[in-house]
């Protein structure tokens, strides 16, 4: 149901503007219009002071910082909790201080983490090379008294290295020893060992000859290869431990601060809303004006609140809705609890127009029935109901929650149609002697009645949609639209008479009635479409028939589901092992139930959106967004 809205004007002394905005924010049932967007208004928009501008900038920055921290912490901890303090609210200064403090801590931890990770990457390269080289170092040289140069070279460079080694031997009076070993198909490890005092001489020579050495960090450079490897491994281990500690600390911080940050974010957003409301108002030297929308039922309440708080210093009055704003009235819908999920489904398509019918209640009736017609199995319905009840306790909000609420009713209809079709996990019911009340969908003779059922449902649904559309057009005083829908309605009725006589469901005399009705419908439709109606009318009518045939999906999906259930039972029965057969049957049934939830949900929603809504629903108006505190 669409709630009736009133347009209000609040006028008061300018010194009370701040307090009025706070009061409206607490009241939470008025949508404030931006005075700058109202055409032909001779009121000057409010100009914010420097202090206000600065506060806005600071709050925006605070929100950006909080969002940054929330993003960082959300990667560590998966919680949607918001910690609310019901005591005194934190001021903006305290929030800024806290946020800055947390940001500093996080920055330090992130920097440290990056340093450790970079070191680990370097260490892993050293360790990899040292582990290759170490086995080739002779036992007698593995002490710190000797210096070592290490390099990994391409095998083709081995001969050059031997020449270099000979030169180094001469340079060091025979105190240089080189070992070369193949460590891969094309790679050789080269290890040169020499007395520590000759380091500068040897390294200088290697540099001149442009041999790329494995240069270890300074603290390991003068250790033997084995000692260097041990030290680097120890350091890498320490880095890993410190990284774990940092992760732990980040997790603890996230658990502690994430709910608080979310709460502070709401406080900041509330303040931004207030600052924006200032700018949406108008002002003179001594007074202010605020325009807005309020549900009719809440107007009296607002009047009383303003009168009790400000006596006659601030007043509110209802004003006429200007013609140019009639298409912009915000839309608020109110439905009983059971219909609420369907209200969300409708809004997923578009918010209804203010002067339209809210189709939520109709969707709440038709969608579960169509779902039940498609799924139609007592066993499946029972499983779906259990899933909906169990998961519904865990999921309290969002699209999934809406789908689960819908599934409860869908499952009940699934069981109802399951009884009509005699389906209990496919043909299991028939096996134990439970016959169908109406038809068994698994028999080939049932296909025709099923198709008739689907088309009949389509005809009924679309005719109902056309009636609603005609009524809507009547309310909008749109004569052409009204006659277009009436023409389509009469045309379909005429066609049904013809089909009835052709299938001998109606006496032959109805044939003439059918032709006449169809002709009247087509003429009405064509006339309503104007000059091009002679071409567009028949095209529109054929399009409508396509929409009716679209309801055949009810039969098609039902058949697919029943035959998959048959496959599960048949396949399970053919396997000699009882347990294996049962397992296979259960697996296929589980798959069928999963598909049976997904596909009929989308298809029944689609029938509402595409075939039904198209006949009467336009939508697209803005929803009612009251100026309301996020934090009470």
């Amino acid at each position: 149901m669409i709630i009736e809205m009133s347009r209000v004007e609040i006028i008061g002394l300018k010194i009370f503007l701040d307090k009025t905005i706070q009061t409206l924010h607490d009241f939470g049932k008025i949508q404030v219009d931006d005075i700058r967007d109202i055409p032909d208004l001779m009121i000057q928009p409010f100009s914010p002071s420097e202090k206000m501008k600065r506060e806005r900038e600071e709050t925006d920055l605070r929100i950006a910082n909080i969002n940054g921290l929330i993003d960082t912490f959300s990667k560590t901890v998966k919680t949607k909790k918001i910690e609310e303090f019901h005591g005194e609210k934190l001021g903006s200064y305290q929030i800024t201080e806290n946020v800055a403090d947390i940001t500093n801590q996080i920055q330090y931890l992130n920097n440290r983490k990056k340093t450790l990770q970079d070191e680990l990457i370097t260490f892993s390269k050293y360790m990899e090379m040292l582990k290759i080289i170490t086995p080739f170092i002779p036992e007698d040289t593995k002490n710190s008294g000797n210096a070592t140069i290490r390099a990994l070279i391409h095998s083709s460079q081995t001969a050059t290295m031997t020449l270099l080694a000979n030169q180094l031997k001469l340079l060091t009076n025979g105190k240089f020893e080189m070992i070369t070993a193949k460590v891969g198909d094309e790679t050789s490890a080269v290890i040169g060992i020499f007395p520590l005092e000759l380091v500068a001489q040897v390294e200088g020579f290697m540099k001149d000859e442009k041999v790329t050495q494995l240069i270890l960090p300074e603290e390991y450079a003068y250790l033997s290869t084995e000692e260097a490897l041990i030290h680097i491994e120890d350091k890498a281990q320490m880095n890993h431990e410190e990284l774990d500690q940092i992760e732990d600390r980040m997790k603890r911080m996230a658990e502690e601060w994430l709910p608080k940050l979310r709460f502070w974010l709401l406080i900041c957003k509330d303040r931004i809303d207030e600052l924006e409301t200032f700018q949406k108002s108008g002002e003179t030297d001594y007074t202010f004006t605020i325009f807005g929308w309020i549900p009719n039922e809440d107007y009296k309440n607002l009047e009383e609140i303003l009168s009790s708080k400000f006596s006659n210093k601030v007043s509110v009055r209802k004003i006429d809705i200007p013609k140019q704003l009639r298409g912009k009235i915000p839309v608020k819908t109110k439905n009983i609890n059971m219909v609420e999920p369907y209200e969300h489904f409708v809004k997923m398509r578009a918010t209804p127009n203010y002067s339209d019918i809210d189709p939520s209640f109709l969707v709440a009736i038709f969608m579960p029935i169509f779902f039940g017609m498609m799924a139609g199995d007592v066993g499946y319905g029972l499983v779906m109901l259990l899933i909906a009840l169990f998961a519904g306790k865990k999921v309290k909000e969002g699209l999934l929650s809406d789908i689960l609420k819908f599934l409860k009713f869908g499952a009940i209809w699934t069981m109802f149609f399951g009884v009509l079709f005699g389906e209990y996990f496919g043909s299991l019911g028939e096996m134990v002697g439970i016959p169908p009340i109406w038809i068994s969908r698994s028999e080939s003779t049932s296909i025709f009645p099923l198709l008739i059922m689907a088309v009949s449902v389509g005809v009924g649904h679309i005719l109902f949609g056309l009636l609603l559309g005609a009524w809507n057009a009547f309310l909008h005083k749109s004569r052409n639209h009204m006659f277009e829908r009436i023409g389509l309605f009469i045309g379909v009725v005429g066609l049904m008479f013809l089909v009835g006589t052709m299938t001998k469901s109606l006496p032959g005399g109805f044939k003439i009635v059918g032709w006449v009705t169809l002709a009247v419908g087509l003429v009405t439709l064509s006339v309503s479409l104007g000059v091009s109606g002679i071409f567009l009318g028949p095209i529109e009518f054929v399009g409508l028939l396509g929409s009716i045939l679209s309801y055949l999906r009810i039969a098609a999906l039902g058949l697919a589901s029943v035959f998959l259930a048959e496959v599960a039972n048949e396949l399970g029965g053919t396997i000699p092992s009882l347990i294996l057969g049962l397992l296979i049957a259960v697996l296929i049934h589980v798959l069928n139930i999963a598909m049976g939830i997904l596909s009929p949900t989308i298809q029944s929603l689609r029938l509402q959106y595409v075939e039904f809504f198209r006949r009467f629903f336009q939508g697209g108006q803005s929803p009612f967004t009251p100026f309301k505190r996020r934090v009470k």
Binding site: K347, M348, R349, A350, S444, I447, F448, L451, G546, L549, S550, L552, R553, A556, I602, Q603, L605, R606, Y609, V610
Partner: protein, 70 residues
């Protein structure tokens, strides 16, 4: 023989329309997912767009059913 031909024709009727539907849905679906990443509020319109080509296969099913029943 006639029954076999009817069965093959029914299979083609479903098969070809199913392929046409899947090709259309592939294009619409991938574009739709891209659009949803930018504007999640378009979910209703995307469901409609993705579901529209399914009418093709439903009509294919109707033709197949008429062939088999008739």
């Amino acid at each position: 023989m006639e029954q076999a031909i009817i069965a093959v024709a029914a299979a083609f009727s479903i098969g070809i329309t199913a392929m046409a539907t899947s090709m259309a849905q592939r294009a619409i679906g991938s574009a739709g997912v891209g659009a949803l990443a930018e504007k999640p509020e378009l979910v209703g319109s995307i469901i409609i767009l993705v579901a529209i080509p399914e009418t093709l296969v439903i009509l294919g099913f109707a033709v197949a059913a008429i062939m088999l029943i008739g």
